[in-house]
């Protein structure tokens, strides 16, 4: 079992601007001593609310931020690698809000072309764009459209297509359906499930929604205030949570009324 991505004692602290000339600069400890090991084929869920550090963790794992202490390793090599392109070809990301994750001035084609060009993907780009659009259920004539002409669901599909274009091994999805309408959520989750299975993708899914995690993830890490408070197989953690925060989370899931 290949270990793809690893975090060792990963911490990230942000210095906040001074409140006044005399006071000390306070710090915000966004991530504290995080350890993580993701093997090929894993489907890992990261659960947390706002301020839990999950987005900070995602940025660090993607090499888009530098840890205050600790390290992220990819296939055994510590980040940053001398050639980050290799890394970025293999690890890709889908963001939460499809309205802001697509450049409003770029056409769908340009959006998906970007990783292909920047990462020097060696296959005909035009063909790859068509291929990846088809795999997310969009027709080829979407290429010339602009984000504002698309629905939320379509935009998110484009975002997923962009992430898949360089044929990554691992996909990090940061709240991929939270900004979408309820009916669309189901479609996108089904799409993610299919793609993960068909392409053999390793998946790290970040969400505050436990039913999303339940649907897509075998393992889960629960975060609160920058710390991993519980982890294990999704089934185990949800069925018998040990940490009080996990228990509260599970109890807070809005349930449907009991009907005969």
């Amino acid at each position: 079992m290949t270990e793809l991505l690893r975090a060792d004692a990963l911490s990230r602290t942000f210095k906040l601007p001074r409140a006044s000339l005399r006071s000390e600069r306070s710090v915000r400890r966004a991530l504290i001593d995080m350890n993580l090991s993701v093997n090929e084929g894993d489907r890992l869920g990261i659960v947390g609310e706002s301020g839990s550090g999950k987005t900070t963790l995602a940025r660090l794992l993607l090499g888009l931020d530098v840890p205050t202490s600790g390290a992220v390793s990819f296939l055994g090599d510590t980040l940053p690698l001398s050639d980050m392109r290799q890394f970025r070809r293999q690890i890709q990301v889908v963001f939460q809000d499809p309205r802001s994750s697509l450049n409003p001035r770029m056409s769908v084609e340009d959006i998906i072309l970007e990783p292909l060009e920047c990462l020097a993907v060696e296959e005909p780009h035009a063909a790859r764009i068509d291929e990846v659009l088809a795999s997310v259920g969009l027709s080829g004539d979407m290429r010339t459209r602009y984000p504002h002409e698309l629905s939320g669901g379509q935009r998110q599909r484009v975002a997923i297509a962009r992430a898949l274009a360089p044929r990554p091994r691992l996909l990090i999805a940061d709240e991929p359906v939270s900004a979408l309408d309820v009916l669309v959520r189901d479609e996108i989750l089904a799409l993610l499930a299919d793609l993960t299975a068909n392409l053999g993708l390793t998946l790290i899914l970040i969400s505050h929604d436990l039913s999303v995690i339940a649907r897509l993830c075998d393992d889960v890490v629960v975060m609160q205030h920058g710390v991993a408070v519980e982890r294990g197989k999704t089934v185990d953690v949800f069925r018998a949570p040990s940490h009080p925060f996990t228990k509260t989370l599970i109890a807070s899931v809005p349930r449907l009324p009991e009907l005969s």
């Binding site: 609310e49 706002s50 939320g152 309408d181 309820v182 009916l183 959520r185 189901d186 505050h208 929604d209 436990l210 039913s211 999303v212 339940a214 649907r215 075998d218 197989k233 999704t234 089934v235 949800f238 069925r239 509260t248 989370l249 599970i250 109890a251 807070s252 899931v253 809005p254 349930r255 449907l256 009324p257 009907l259």
Partner: protein, 268 residues
């Protein structure tokens, strides 16, 4: 006694029809949920009832609250109702509160305007209301500014403001959507209690079917400006008539099943 009667409510922005022929009744003390996705017209409908539609909106139809027609009335005529007989809680507490005014003063405002209370008395009542909505250390808290409070606390302040004058109708537009799930439960419980104690009617607008169905007895489903179904929660879940409502119920069931299956230790 019918508190609110909405008949053929239609709202247009120029040529665009955003709410199309919506009708429903709400009796005193009753609760109605309005569920729809973005673009369904649910927020505009709730704004129409409190008379807060943007100027650009052209409204037709009738909205009668306690015997008084609301539509196309001037601000002056409506201001005696707003914050007084009709209270409203909004989605984003950070923008719904004045960032430059201490929260105690904001709670006191409707009391001073509608009840003619003096500042000191109104502030005292504000402290009581803060305690009532479950805020710790109310005497100190009323002196805070909104940015010093958490999202959940701000929403409680929002509730305190809307309930200050014991309204007969509380309109809540996505009141918990911007909050963390753990806080959401508490705030929903709070709304439940307060509405029950006051005997107010509740109009709960949301996109979240499980949340709406836990808060109200009847649900109106809106889609692209039209009300496609009006039913009790039971009817909706046992056999929704409209295809769209059925899809919503299915999606909610699906998420629920996913969660239940895993948390009851079934196959992942």
């Amino acid at each position: 006694m019918t508190l609110l009667q909405v008949r053929n409510l239609t709202i247009r922005f120029g040529q665009k029809l955003v709410v199309d022929d919506v009708s429903f009744d709400l009796d005193a003390g009753q609760r109605l949920g309005i569920i729809g996705e973005s673009g369904s017209g649910k927020t505009l409908t709730s704004l129409a009832i409190i008379g807060l539609l943007p100027d650009a909106a052209a409204v037709a139809g009738s909205v009668v609250f306690d015997g008084v027609e609301i539509l196309n009335k001037s601000d002056g005529e409506l201001s005696s109702l707003r914050g007084n007989r009709i209270g409203m809680v909004f989605q984003e507490p950070l923008t719904a509160l004045n960032p430059l005014m201490r929260v105690g003063k904001q709670i006191a405002q409707p009391l001073r305007i509608h009840r003619g209370m003096r500042m000191k008395a109104a502030l005292a009542r504000a402290i009581e209301l803060c305690a009532r909505v479950g805020l710790p250390d109310p005497e100190r808290l009323v002196r805070s500014y909104p940015h010093q409070l958490s999202g959940g606390q701000r929403q409680r302040i929002g509730l305190a403001i809307s309930l200050a004058c014991n309204p007969s109708l509380l309109i809540a537009d996505e009141p918990t959507t911007a909050l963390d799930v753990t806080v959401q439960q508490e705030v929903l419980k709070l709304i439940n209690e307060l509405v029950r104690e006051e005997g107010s009617a509740l109009m709960f607008v949301s996109h979240d079917l499980p949340v709406v169905s836990s808060m109200t007895e009847r649900v109106a489903v809106m889609r692209s400006g039209t009300m496609v179904e009006l039913a009790t929660v039971g009817e909706l879940f046992s056999g929704a008539r409209h295809e769209y409502s059925q899809k919503l119920v299915q999606a909610a069931r699906r998420s629920d099943d996913d969660f239940v299956r895993v948390s009851r230790g079934g196959r992942a």
